[in-house]
Assembly symmetry: C2
Homo-oligomer: 266 residues x 2
DNA sequence: CGGATTTAGATTGTCAGACGTCTGGCAACT
DNA sequence: AGTTGCCAGACGTCTGACAATCTAAATCCG
């Protein structure tokens, strides 16, 4: 009898979080718990999840509630459900679906390269116009900026700039973070109780300006794909603004598209 | 007493489609029906949907099943659910989420321009290598190719090439289609019982080659965003392959990103 | 013994009904 | 007028049951 409730989701009434935990629905809590478990490798790719009855029992929710969560996981293609057989962790070659908001390191690793970082610079100062606007900050508010070059097998492939309101993350935090080998997401959640919920990314093709070309070791004017993104928490508050300049050929940028809008095209 | 069941979803057993309709789950059928109704404007943005009980009644499914569908719609941000009040059609400015697989025409219209088409060419012949590979066809199998230039307020913004297996869609079909003012998706569904379920798109920045530059009326070597996509039905069979060359500045290419992978970044 | 068939069990899909909680409006009371 | 209490309607969750599907063991038959 393996100790259950090891994974139990917050009971309906008891909000153990301090202030106002902006209570999240039970299915959403299950989605979090299961996503987490899958990504931690507790349920490896291709393996079956426990049956719905067992899972509902472990998470201490009803089967209907659990099924809502599973539906979301299925929509996100994290699991596959087979009638009469069970629910399985997806083995789909998660090529690189931009719809999933994973970090560059994970992206490099998923592509089969060894990730590393170079030329890291942390600066603190007043927010530049674009960042302030996208983060919803007053002009001149202090932000922490992290500029890095990401390498795949020692080859520069991405130049990234990440901007945080200083009140969320200071240069000190970043120093502590790079020591602790923790994920940025994990750090924000553990230390600040802040969870990134979604992001809105914008894609544009650009020609490399001189400074960026130098960092990526390509000639000026080379083709790059620029991904600028704002991340939000579950209340819709902007947490982080980032700009990434990607070499176009080191990985395939793919998107799973759902739909169609059936009344859509001409 | 407004006649209900006007919207009823396929009853569990009766598969009215001919061969094997590759039966789709009831929640998915509800998703389709509701998405359709919303996009047809039956439920305008901001308006409340009928209550879950009513909807379940109209669609002739249980409330649990309906709720699974609503959950998917909520995940896709088509509706917003408010405890104690109701479910409302999302008013969010659906900027242009690449995650949603709507056609170029809808995209242009959503951006506030008047869509039109120019330079349409339909050809029939053996599949070129890339198309055959992506559609899973034998080398040399016949395909129908549709090449168009899309205009927003009379300005060329996209050059698109769409390739279909001739057994699915012939040049005649396309001619009939452009007469009937019907959607391509709608035509496939109505005439062939085929529903496009999802697509996988790949994005690459490119410099315009001469021929494409001419079509889009830009200078050779201009920056373009190339979106090449394969669309699949719900069994995973490839139906259509398309390549679109977009001017980078006529609209913002955005993606809603979910997650994060909590154990993701470095 | 070997192969085909049947059967039992496990698991997901769907349903019907019930109760809790939240919201907003209206009436009664201060 | 302002507050309070009540109530109807809506979503959130739970329970138990049955149907459909798949696997694999058990059975039957040649």
């Amino acid at each position: 009898m393996a100790d259950r409730r090891e994974m139990a989701v917050t009971p309906p009434t008891a909000a153990r979080g301090s202030r106002r935990t902006a209570r999240v629905s039970l299915p959403d809590a299950c989605v979090r718990a299961l996503t987490d478990a899958i990504e931690r490798g507790i349920y490896p790719a291709g393996s079956p999840l426990p049956s719905e009855n067992e899972l509902a029992d472990q998470l201490q929710v009803s089967r209907a509630t659990l099924r809502e969560a599973l539906r979301t996981l299925e929509d996100r293609q994290l699991v596959v459900r087979r009638h009469g057989r069970g629910t399985f962790v997806s083995t789909a070659p998660i090529v690189n679906d931009l719809h999933r908001n994973f970090g560059i390191t994970a992206m490099i690793r998923a592509a089969g390269y060894e990730p590393s970082t170079a030329g890291q610079e942390v600066t603190t100062g007043p927010a530049p116009r674009d960042a302030a606007e996208r983060l919803g900050l007053a002009r001149g508010e202090t932000v922490t900026t992290l500029r890095r070059i990401r390498l795949a097998d020692k080859r520069p492939v991405v130049l990234s700039v990440e901007v945080f309101p200083a009140r969320l993350l200071t240069a000190d935090d970043l120093a502590r973070l790079s020591d602790s080998r923790q994920s940025l997401y994990g750090y924000l959640y553990a230390e600040r109780g802040i969870a990134i919920h979604r992001g809105l990314a914008e894609l544009t093709p650009v020609k490399a300006p001189a400074e960026i070309a130098a960092g990526l070791e390509v000639v000026r004017g080379s083709l790059l794909l620029c991904i600028s993104q704002v991340d939000y928490d579950d209340t819709g508050k902007a947490l982080m603004y980032s700009v990434e300049y990607h070499l176009p050929d080191w990985v395939r940028f793919t998107i799973e598209r759902i739909g169609p809008g059936s009344a859509a095209d001409d």
